[in-house]
């Protein structure tokens, strides 16, 4: 194995390209910019195209077009730019285009945006939240696999630490199993044959080959997302067996929590952690099981309490759930604030345990 020292953004770009991504369009915004620059540098050599979109709206629609034509295609931004893309993300869900969206977010305040969305219609977005750069490299490929597998948009939820830290990583294509053929993709070959293709949110089909129409189509889409929820929820957990206290966190914050939990266990605390790897589908059944025997469920996230909703929905005992996270932004506005720090998290957990904070 040969490790390359890559900035997270560069590693994620290289991994996406190793997964076959051949089209990317984006609009610069820190800390997403590094991913756009890396794609711009690396994609042409791989026979792909990276376009500097004139807006996030243009970028996401370019990517939707490329994905509709059968390419593995992606766009990205930060939460603010992803906000502009909501209509198209919903459209991709409803017209079944496998679009991948990299949210190289500035913080964890986009949980609702990713899991609830702001588009119209009954849709969901599969959301992967990697905890560190090696996992981000894996998720950059898994995102395309899941998008193709389900013909649905997938959001990759990154952050400034994943974007900007450099680590030694190995980039190689990962095999997640077989996929159905993209016989739905637009390539023009069926034009004029009487069997031309149509990608349309309303799915009304052609005069000679009527489609299901909106009512049946949208019911089918809703059923598809129910099925995805059954099979794609992923989580990680540790020390659940004997934990009196379980700390729930996602993304990089979960890595910090894991570190602190190890310290606290070394000090004799019966504590464990639970991490949703997919934010949607949220691993609710697994969380219910993990919290069945715990006295406290602590939710740590760098926002005002968003994943907290999902934990409250699924925890075995709602009254055991306590929020120990909060909004925490660097002075620049572009990165995490002081809460993303092991000693601070340790203090918050200890405070929640009702013990005196150790210095």
């Amino acid at each position: 194995m040969t490790l390359e020292l890559l900035e997270g953004s560069e590693a994620i770009a290289a991994s996406a390209i190793a997964a076959g991504c051949r089209f990317f369009a984006g609009y610069p915004m820190s800390p997403f910019t590094g991913l756009l620059e890396s794609m711009s540098r690396l994609l042409p050599a791989a026979g792909g195209v990276c376009l500097n979109a004139a807006s996030e709206i243009e970028g996401v629609n370019m990517a939707l077009g490329a994905a509709a034509a059968g390419a593995r295609a992606a766009t990205g931004s930060c939460g603010q730019g992803i906000a502009l893309m909501q209509e198209t993300i919903a459209e991709a869900a409803l017209n079944e285009t496998p679009l991948v969206v990299f949210n190289m977010a500035r913080n964890q305040q986009d949980y609702f945006q990713a899991t609830r969305g702001g588009g119209w219609g009954d849709y969901r977005t599969i959301t992967l939240a990697p905890k560190n750069i090696p996992e981000a490299v894996e998720h950059a490929q898994l995102a395309f696999h899941l998008a193709d597998k389900h013909r649905a948009p997938v959001i990759f939820y990154g952050d400034p630490l994943l974007a900007q830290t450099r680590v030694g990583v190995e980039i190689r294509p990962l095999d997640f199993g077989p996929l159905p053929p993209k016989d739905w993709a637009l390539d023009g070959t069926r034009s004029g044959t009487g069997k031309s293709r149509q990608i349309w949110t309303w799915a009304m089909g052609k005069a000679t080959q009527p489609g299901p129409g909106p009512d049946r189509h949208w019911k089918a889409i809703a059923a598809k997302f129910d099925a995805i929820a059954e099979v794609e929820a992923r989580h990680e957990q540790r020390y659940v067996e004997d934990a009196e206290t379980l700390v729930v966190a996602f993304g990089t914050a979960a890595t910090f929590v894991e570190y602190v939990v190890e310290e606290l266990r070394a000090d004799g605390h019966r504590i464990g952690w639970f991490r949703p790897v997919t934010l949607w589908p949220f691993p609710g059944a697994a969380l219910a099981q993990a919290t069945a025997g715990t006295r406290r469920v602590l939710v740590f996230e760098l926002n005002a309490g968003q994943m907290l909703d999902d934990v409250l929905i699924h925890a075995a005992d709602r009254s055991a759930v306590h929020f120990i996270g909060g909004v925490s932004i660097a002075e620049s506005g572009l990165a995490f604030g002081e809460l993303m720090d092991a000693p601070v998290i340790r203090d918050r957990i200890l405070a929640a345990l009702g013990r005196e904070t150790r210095s």
């Binding site: 051949r22 089209f23 369009a25 195209v49 376009l51 979109a53 004139a54 807006s55 709206i57 243009e58 970028g59 629609n61 370019m62 990517a63 939707l64 077009g65 490329a66 994905a67 509709a68 034509a69 059968g70 390419a71 295609a73 209509e87 198209t88 459209e91 017209n95 637009l186 390539d187 023009g188 070959t189 069926r190 034009s191 004029g192 044959t193 009487g194 031309s196 293709r197 149509q198 990608i199 349309w200 949110t201 309303w202 009304m204 089909g205 052609k206 005069a207 000679t208």
Partner: protein, 256 residues
Amino acid sequence: MTVIDTSQPPAGPARRVAEARPSLLLGEHSLCPGCGEPIALRLLLEVLQELDVVQRSIGVVGHGCYGSFVRIMDVDVLQCLHGRAPACATGIKRVRPDCVVFTLQGDGDMANEGLHEVLHAAARGEKITCIMLNNGVFGDTGGQLTATTVLGQRTKTSLAGRDAREHGYPIPVAELVAGLRGAAYVARGAVSTPGAVVQTKRMLTRAFETQLAGAGFSLVEILTMCPTGWFVPAREGPGYLGDSMERVYPLGELTT
């Protein structure tokens, strides 16, 4: 001017022409009597066939009355979000450079919601062909003011007529696009007279030839009748178009 009498079916050879249908047309349109958009669709489909590019054609269709054409055109089609067709077409063309990629948009779609997308696609010299069906109103929602509504025109949101002090001035899309270096072919046609129909078909042919030659972006703006949205009888549509829109939006080739 001469107005074609459509109160009776045409007789003889004229009837055969009227009833001939390009094989890419899968069925009847469902738009209003006197609408110009089905004529533009027919020209588009005929040109794709005559250029022998049918089985590598992909269309991206926006939102307006013409959106229903996705059901009757035997072409691979992406029905996209309002205004975004040039962006989607860009993505398609970049990953399938051998395909012939076009957009079908209205004035509300291209000049209101999506002016940004068409201008940037043109400036990039994107090798796609964009077709704007310009009738100066939002036809699909019943005749409201668009960016191309001409001064003085009455719409449901400019009841006393478009007043520049209140509603600003109309946007000449073809002229805007023609001002960009990436645009290799820009023309404005109409479907209001037999001569204009013939001329517009030639423009569409040249636009697609421009794309096939890889020369850059091409746009054909087509003035179409919307008697329903204009609140005039169907048979008066062509005349009204000539008296109002055509005076503001001159026909002809702007960039070749």
